[in-house]
């Protein structure tokens, strides 16, 4: 099952309009300029190559999140993270106005940050800073740099970022819409991302590797592995269709270690199988594991333990990259010191675990893997069936029919009927499946596991449990038990 490759003519036509949406679009009008510039970037700073190397070496690379309003401050921040923080890969996290294409507000944020002497934006407004601002940033550091954001329509951002020397671009038409937006129509967003992927495909065709990373964790809140896996694989297929080759699929820590290990193994296996089944062979698939993406404990010592457990799973799961949280997570965007301390803590546990084999090969992991495989197949089959001959339509219809449904997401195009709850061992299960096309046997297993918890706690399975589970980790537990 595939989607159509955006024709070059349509791409160029769109491009003109896109570049006009903000003055800095003009500077990237010449596509070949970006290409030429990318060719000057040393291999050691190419994100796609770094990921491939990590895979070959069996290493896990560390990447923080970071972005501030002003160029010089942002450079200082990234330099600190690569030296003091020993980050292997650098981010440039985009501010939330830019994510909504509200460049004027972003501009005001830049001005105010100048006056305030501190960043009042929650990220780096790359579009406002334009191609040259981005080049300043990517040239100032020694590690590969990725744009991390949450932008439903990221076409202009992608144009500027790639011409600006970034060698990896996060996001996707589902993962950067449903959890990040309220009113963005599913098909529109998918088409906007086809543009981004086509642009990356253009670079690839011309010999420049650019890494693409669909956003795995979605809402970061009790997302069962099979839901995020399905989205990741769909976005992978859509990207490959447009010529992307270096793909990093993501998964956010759920908290139950064995479920997490099963999730990481199945993500790699299922993605590989699906891509091959769709006829792709020359892709380069790697994995990213996100340390706990839900609410964090306010206490920094407790936060370090959440970070450490994430590092443990990253190591045991043998992923190529892990995105690192900081001890400030619950409170606000971390200072550079707090950010570096998250990196150092993760580095410590990763390297202590690096040489160890951890026993994923056991009955529970096997059971969870089998379950996830069946669940993902059920969803993929349903999306394919809904697709006719266009995967984009399949996804649109799947959301409309609730065949795809992401827990706690703000999008009005998301049914929001799925209710996840932890079972008695903290694995994420489904209380309500909404319209998800899961068979009775699968749902019987979920229900049985939740019954076990219900018995253990002496209370029925209700929405209160969901609430308790959402708060649990921030209150020092995995499972939200009654007091």
């Amino acid at each position: 099952m595939t989607s159509q490759r955006l024709s070059w003519k349509d791409f160029l036509a769109q491009r003109q309009a896109v570049l006009e949406t903000w003055p800095t679009g003009r500077d990237v009008a010449a596509l070949e300029d970006g290409l030429r510039y990318q060719r000057t970037i040393p291999e050691a700073k190419n994100f796609a190559k770094a990921m491939a190397k990590a895979k070959a070496a069996g290493r896990t690379l560390l990447q923080p999140r970071a972005g501030v309003a002003l160029i010089d401050d942002h450079i200082r921040l990234l330099r600190y993270l690569e030296t003091e923080g020993t980050a292997d890969l650098l981010p440039t996290t985009i501010d939330a106005y830019t994510r909504q294409n509200r460049y004027e507000e972003a501009g005001r944020g830049i001005e105010r940050s100048r006056t305030a002497g501190t960043s009042l934006l929650n990220g780096f407004p790359a579009v406002n800073h334009g191609r040259d601002g981005c080049r300043k940033v990517t040239e100032a550091v020694t590690k590969p740099v990725q744009v991390r954001h949450g932008t439903p329509d990221a076409r202009l951002l992608a144009e500027i970022a790639l011409a600006g020397g970034f060698t990896s671009f996060e996001g996707g038409g589902i993962s950067y819409n449903i959890p990040y937006a309220k009113k963005v129509e599913v098909g529109q967003c998918l088409r906007d991302w086809q543009y981004v992927d086509r642009l990356v495909g253009y670079y690839e065709e011309n010999g420049v590797s650019v890494n693409r990373e669909p956003f795995g964790p979605l809402t970061g809140t009790l997302v069962p592995p099979f839901i995020s896996h399905t989205v990741a694989i769909l976005e992978g297929l859509l990207a490959l269709d447009q010529g992307v080759r270096s793909l990093t699929l993501g998964y956010g820590q759920g908290g139950n270690v064995l479920q997490d290990l099963a999730a990481l193994e199945t993500l790699r296996e299922l993605a590989d199988e699906s891509f091959r089944a769709a006829g792709f062979i020359d892709f380069d698939l790697t994995l990213v594991f996100h340390q706990w993406m839900g609410g964090f404990p306010e206490d920094e010592a407790q936060a370090f333990s959440v970070i450490g457990l994430g590092g443990f799973v990253a190591a045991a799961g043998r992923v190529e990259k892990t995105i690192v949280k900081s001890p400030h997570e619950a409170m606000g965007i971390p200072t550079k010191e707090a950010n570096a301390s998250g990196l150092k803590a993760t580095r410590q546990v990763l390297s202590m675990m690096a040489d160890q084999r951890i026993c994923a090969d056991n009955d529970i992991v096997r059971r969870e893997k089998e379950l996830i495989r069946r669940e993902v197949h059920a969803l993929m089959d349903a999306v394919f069936a809904a697709a006719g001959d266009d995967l984009v339509q399949g996804v649109v219809r799947a959301f409309a029919g609730g065949l795809l449904d992401i827990p706690f997401a703000p999008s009005m195009y998301n049914k929001g009927k799925v209710l996840p709850i932890r079972d008695n061992e903290g694995a994420i299960r489904l209380f309500a499946k909404g319209g998800l096309p899961l068979g009775d046997d699968i749902m019987a297993f979920h229900r049985e596991r939740l019954q076990e918890r219900s018995r253990a706690e002496g209370r029925p399975v209700t929405f209160q449990m969901v609430t308790d589970d959402i708060y649990a980790i921030s209150k020092g537990k995995l499972v939200g038990r009654p007091k």
């Binding site: 939330a96 009042l120 929650n122 937006a181 309220k182 965007i333």
Partner: protein, 139 residues
């Protein structure tokens, strides 16, 4: 007495929907009549909803850090629209970066908010204060 009417929402370009879901469930359960606008709500939408539903209070969430920019002028606009007695609360991760709460509170009170809350606030306590504040404004 009727259930007090309140408007909930997450202001600006902020997409954090989890806390909002919980606030909705909590205040409904606690006996309030909740009009929940969800995420990415503009100042105008907040005030429109307050007017339409004749709400006694508006509870603004901001998690993503742009709270100060997004909330500026809300109180003035409320007054302009004749909502002099509106109780205005703000809560969440209101500014960029870990900041002493006293500082955050000062800044938002200066913007005209009646009360300001950190993310770890005990919601039962908020409900108590809210009832009292609404009662006080009525008189």
């Amino acid at each position: 007495m009727d259930a007090p009417r309140i408007v909930l929402g997450v202001i600006g370009a902020d997409c954090h929907s989890v806390g909002n879901t919980i606030l909705d469930a909590f205040f409904t359960e606690a006996g309030f009549h909740v009009v929940n606008l969800g995420v990415m709500v503009s100042q105008e939408e907040f005030l429109d909803a307050a007017v339409e539903s004749d709400a006694a209070a508006v509870l603004v969430s901001s998690l993503y850090g742009h709270g100060l920019i997004d909330c500026e002028g809300l109180r003035q606009k409320a007054v302009e629209r004749g909502l002099e007695r509106l109780v205005l609360y703000a809560g969440g991760n209101l500014v960029v970066g870990k900041t002493p709460f006293e500082e955050v509170e000062r800044k938002f009170k200066a913007l005209g908010f009646d009360r300001v809350f950190p993310p770890q606030v005990e919601l039962a306590e908020v409900a108590r204060l809210l009832r009292a504040d609404i009662e006080a404004r009525r008189n």
